[in-house]
């Protein structure tokens, strides 16, 4: 009973501290709020079940959780059930871009907002790799750019991103 209470407290602590940050990164990838909520739930279940396999040699706890959230979000977006809303998402994005609106969308906050403000060449690469989960090889084929170019341009994009975040 004591152990249970302790675990509940630990989970509560974890959720209270990180759910907002993780929810925001999920929203960066999954704009649909209902689906994003489902993903957030799934992410915390994964975190709780896999916490034993977390190795602090690999990095900070938040970085680990962030990657779980990112992967879960990309999986959700790629799932078949998401196909329907995918079209409407593209439509909204098109409307958004066409309007050149400054209105802040839920997927235009945090990191994605920073990335969005990078120059086009960099933005596309980070969008595709980080937010959509494509490998450099896949990106090379998609954009018809040599793999070497993708690599070097990606590195420059990331260096630039770091500078932007820092400032």
């Amino acid at each position: 009973m004591l152990l249970k209470q302790r675990q509940q407290d630990a989970f509560s602590y974890l959720y209270d501290h990180y759910s907002g940050s993780l929810y925001s990164i999920i929203l960066n990838i999954v704009p649909d709020k209902d689906l994003a909520s489902d993903v957030l739930q799934e992410v915390f279940i994964k975190i709780w079940k896999q916490i034993d396999s977390y190795d602090n040699f690999k990095g900070r706890l938040f970085t680990w959780m962030l990657n779980i959230a990112r992967n879960a979000s990309i999986d959700a977006v790629r799932s078949k059930g998401y196909q329907k809303s995918q079209k409407s998402k593209e439509l909204t994005e098109n409307v958004y871009y066409a309007a050149g609106s400054t209105e802040i969308n839920t997927d235009q906050i945090g990191l994605r907002k920073v990335v969005h403000n990078l120059k086009e060449d960099y933005r596309v690469l980070i969008e595709l790799s980080y937010f959509e989960g494509f490998t450099q090889d896949e990106i090379s084929k998609m954009l018809k750019i040599p793999l070497g170019t993708v690599k070097t341009r990606m590195r420059s994009a990331l260096t630039h991103l770091k500078q932007v975040i820092k400032s």
Partner: protein, 276 residues
Amino acid sequence: MEIQEYIESGIIESYVLGIAEPAEIAEVEKLKLQYIEIQKAIDVFSITLEQMALKNAVPPPADIKPRLMAELDFNTSSKDTFPLTVAYNSNDKSNEEGSIKKMRTWRFAAAASIILFLASAAANFFIYNKYSKKNSELQALLIQTNSLQASNQVFQTKVKEFETANQMMADPEYQKVNLLDPNKKKDYLITAFWSRNTKDVFISVKKLPQPTPGKQYQLWALVDGNPVDAGMLDPTCKSLCKMKNIPRAQAFAVTLEVSGGSPEPTMEQLFVMGKI
């Protein structure tokens, strides 16, 4: 390779964001052990990312947390090594308590089994002793029964013989002949039973002296004045003894002869005689 150049190449960001290729991840993880600067750069970018995420946190719907708390099973002990700031050292204690409890249980079980073993051994010894005693008693009883049975058989045979003799005495088929001392000095007595139908002869020795060693009594039938051998008296026969078949006779006589019998009776040794 210049470390600073490596750090500024964008590989660190790629690694922290989780978009690096497997070969790059392996490289960073190897190099960060060798170069503290690389580890530092990783930490710096991780913290930057974390702070930005915290700054941009979006409160999730309020109903998610209670749903999660209800869904998750907090009883599993696998979360003992939970790496958070919440103190978990006391979990080890509860584990220890558990193992002590376990040990106590084992000790109790061991003690109980030893006691049970000793009790069982004592019971076995007691029961074995009892069994041995009963077994010898049974053996004695069996022997007694056997001897009783044997003597019973002897009595039964005797009773049967007496019954037969009785029947013969009463039966009109048998002619009863008392053989007595012809000099009428001794009260020797043998009773002969002669079947009128089968002509079988039985005798019952009532009184006759023990024959001297090497001697045996012999029965004779007197047929027309001539003695005919009617058989030897079996010294083991204690009641009714079957003799030879005598088709015709006028009298019976018993003489003492050498063991095995004589062809002619020794008249000096005539003990009893009876006319039919």
